[in-house]
């Protein structure tokens, strides 16, 4: 009743090809964008902006990249943190060595660099699939981080171990306050999400899904597996690289290889699985969940047990609960939180009827 397709009449091809064909979707999107751009920067506290919203947005970009590779193209990948590192260090080096480079350009260029690396490490996907491919992507993860660590040039021969990122400078203005940084990240995220939605809905996305569902049949149909798979790796690595650069420059405010280790790759994997494979919304939901869940558990434990509990015990307990949650999700809703949202929308479609 509240959410329905009935009553949507399309009178032109342009209307038929819209990203969001239902009016309710468009209304929700407009409201969301208004909230994000006009309300939050002025009303949210600095803590919320810099500790929760900014990392959430940056990680959502990475999760979108991972989703493109795993959810749409069906290529199992465990190397996302490696590409994040590539993007972050590329951005750092570009801003260091090219005078007066605007931040936007630096970020986009580092995305392209990460994409190039992604193509190289995506080559095994032409030979292997599934778990074997996942192990091959692990090679990219370890190798990229090792290269950045070993060759001091990337870190500008810094010996202190902590390299602070440069300020974000565009059009002569330094974006330093949490609200300003938030707006920069938000703009990137909105643009990249729009791009991803278009790709998912268009022939690019359909090619990927064909490869995911049955690549032998896709090849028989005439799809070039080489182009499609490498395209998926390239675009996914672009997103991971951009996300990594944003993550380092706006949240961590530093670049170090150790921040982009295999554990981060696993966290991004979980974001995509729990959020919902093959959905754009799932990337955001998953990133939010993985980011907020430890915070929430922490608050819960403090409320229940007070300060009397050892930090190692709470972290171990968090791990157990996290593992149980993953298992429960796999049993009851393997399609993730995006599917839960979809179920809710379906009920809204039928409301006030039950089925």
């Amino acid at each position: 009743m509240l959410y329905r397709q009935a009553g949507t009449f399309k009178t032109s091809y342009a209307q038929d090809q819209r990203l969001l064909p239902l009016r309710q979707d468009r209304t929700m999107m407009v409201a969301l964008l208004l909230l994000a751009f006009a309300v939050i920067p002025f009303s949210a506290s600095a803590y919320w902006l810099s500790a929760i919203l900014i990392p959430w947005l940056a990680l959502s970009v990475v999760a979108m990249g991972q989703n493109i590779l795993m959810g749409y193209a069906g290529q199992l990948s465990l190397g996302s943190a490696g590409f994040m590192a590539a993007g972050a260090f590329a951005c750092y080096n570009l801003m260091l060595r090219v005078d007066g480079l605007p931040f936007v350009v630096a970020v986009l260029l580092s995305g392209l660099i990460a994409a190039a690396i992604g193509i190289v490490f995506g080559l095994p996907s032409l030979r292997v699939r599934g778990l074997y491919l996942a192990v091959a992507t692990l090679a990219s993860q370890f190798f990229i981080v090792w290269v950045i660590d070993k060759f001091g040039w990337f870190k500008n021969y810094d010996t202190s171990g902590i390299i602070t990122t440069q300020d974000i400078v565009m059009f002569g203005h330094i974006f330093a306050s949490p609200a300003e940084t938030y707006l920069v990240v938000l703009t990137f995220v909105v643009a990249l999400t729009w791009l991803a939605m278009n790709m998912a809905k268009g022939s690019v996305g359909r090619n990927w899904q064909a490869v995911r569902d049955m690549d032998v049949a896709a090849e028989v149909m005439g799809l070039s597996l080489l182009r499609t798979k490498l395209q998926a790796f390239a675009i996914s690595s672009f997103y991971c690289g951009v996300g990594g650069a944003l993550f380092a420059f706006t949240y961590l405010k530093s670049v170090e290889p150790a921040a982009f280790d295999i554990n981060l790759s696993f966290r991004i994997l979980f974001m995509v699985i729990i959020g919902g494979l093959g959905t754009i919304l799932g990337s955001f939901l998953g990133a939010g969940f993985i980011l907020l869940f430890p915070v929430f558990l922490n608050i819960l434990f403090h409320a229940i047990f007070g300060k009397a509990v050892d930090a190692t015990i709470t972290s171990a307990l968090e791990q157990v609960i996290f593992g149980v949650l993953i298992i429960l999700f796999m049993i009851y809703e393997p399609l993730g939180m995006a599917k839960l949202w979809q179920n809710f929308l379906d009920r809204m479609r039928r409301w006030p009827f039950r089925r």
């Binding site: 091959a136 593992g323 049993i331």
Partner: protein, 301 residues
């Protein structure tokens, strides 16, 4: 013998020995994959959980020969719980879902181990000396300890036993049927529940063995979980479904890792050990995508 050759042999032997240890961990993976078609990401956590519990029981006062059977029973219990709460609800789901569930299981086991037994590093004393055997060193110049030989023997025995079980016994055949397709195996009457409890318990015991030997060598600590990641190149090169392949591939990976570190490493400032096995695995994959001994998979449209 010339110093160069002696050095090479020493590095090689060291690599082979560490390779055998990787094989032990990889064996658990292969066991479960061959018997239920599930890639058990929690194997590393199982190794950690098993040996930590063993040490924990010993700290509680039980002597080694009492703690061992208790830990075995515990691992069987873990196998039963896994079957009941993780595998049974996910019968016949696609392998990605099962993989994710085992990752969740890994987290649960890691967390439980730390909750129950704490996070300090512990030593495990098996009573087997880890010092080089003197007469052997004098004779050949190679440093090998009793522990190393024990590890090699144990690994070979386990591999031989499991290979025989899978290829010669009815139980083994049933396990392979289950790995092929859960639904088909159920439909011809193979008791999935019992089979899975057996297999996961067996994998738990393999994990305990691997954990004991690793723990005796380098102490019982959380880093043990990361060993599982090292076993992955072994699985790739040997093939996920081959028990003898595990030993061969383990030797290859171990030897390659050490040799690369010693001979190629210095050109890059060292640290190659971290990714060299994976690169080797990728190269192998390009030429033989199912591993040296893995089953050739024929996919139909």
């Amino acid at each position: 013998m010339g110093y160069e050759i002696l050095f090479f042999i020493e590095v090689l032997v060291g690599g082979l020995l560490s390779g055998v240890m990787y094989s032990l961990v990889a064996l658990g993976f292969v066991l479960i994959y061959k018997a239920s078609g599930v890639f058990n990401f929690a194997q590393g956590a199982m190794v950690f959980f098993a040996v930590l519990s063993l040490v924990g029981f010993m700290e509680l006062g039980l002597p080694f020969w009492a703690a061992l059977p208790v830990t075995v029973v515990l691992m069987v219990g873990v196998g039963m719980a896994t079957e009941r709460f993780v595998l049974r609800p996910l019968v016949n789901q696609n392998e990605d879902t099962l993989l994710m569930a085992t990752i969740g299981l890994a987290f649960v086991l890691e967390g439980l181990a730390q909750l129950a037994w704490g996070v300090e590093v512990r030593r495990l004393d098996l009573g087997i000396p880890d010092v080089p055997i003197m007469w052997l060193a004098d004779l050949t110049g190679i440093f090998v300890s009793t522990l190393d030989i024990t590890i090699g023997v144990v690994a070979s025995v386990m591999v031989a036993v499991l290979a025989l079980v899978f290829s010669r016994t009815k139980v083994g055949l049933g396990l392979r049927a289950v790995a092929d397709s859960h639904a088909a195996a159920l439909s011809i009457g193979i008791p999935l529940k019992h089979i899975w409890v057996m297999v996961w318990a067996a994998a738990g015991i393999v994990a305990l063995t691997a954990g004991m030997l690793w723990g005796a060598r380098s102490g019982v600590q959380f880093a043990l979980v990361g060993i599982a990641l090292k076993a992955l190149p072994v699985l790739i090169i040997g093939g996920f479904t081959s028990v003898p392949g595990v030993i061969v591939a383990g030797l290859i990976v171990g030897a390659f890792e050490k040799l690369a570190e010693v001979y190629i490493g210095p050109y890059f400032g060292g640290g190659i050990e971290g990714w060299a096995p994976y690169m080797l695995a990728v190269v192998f994959l390009m030429f033989r995508s199912e591993g040296l001994f893995g089953e050739r998979i024929i996919r139909r449209v």
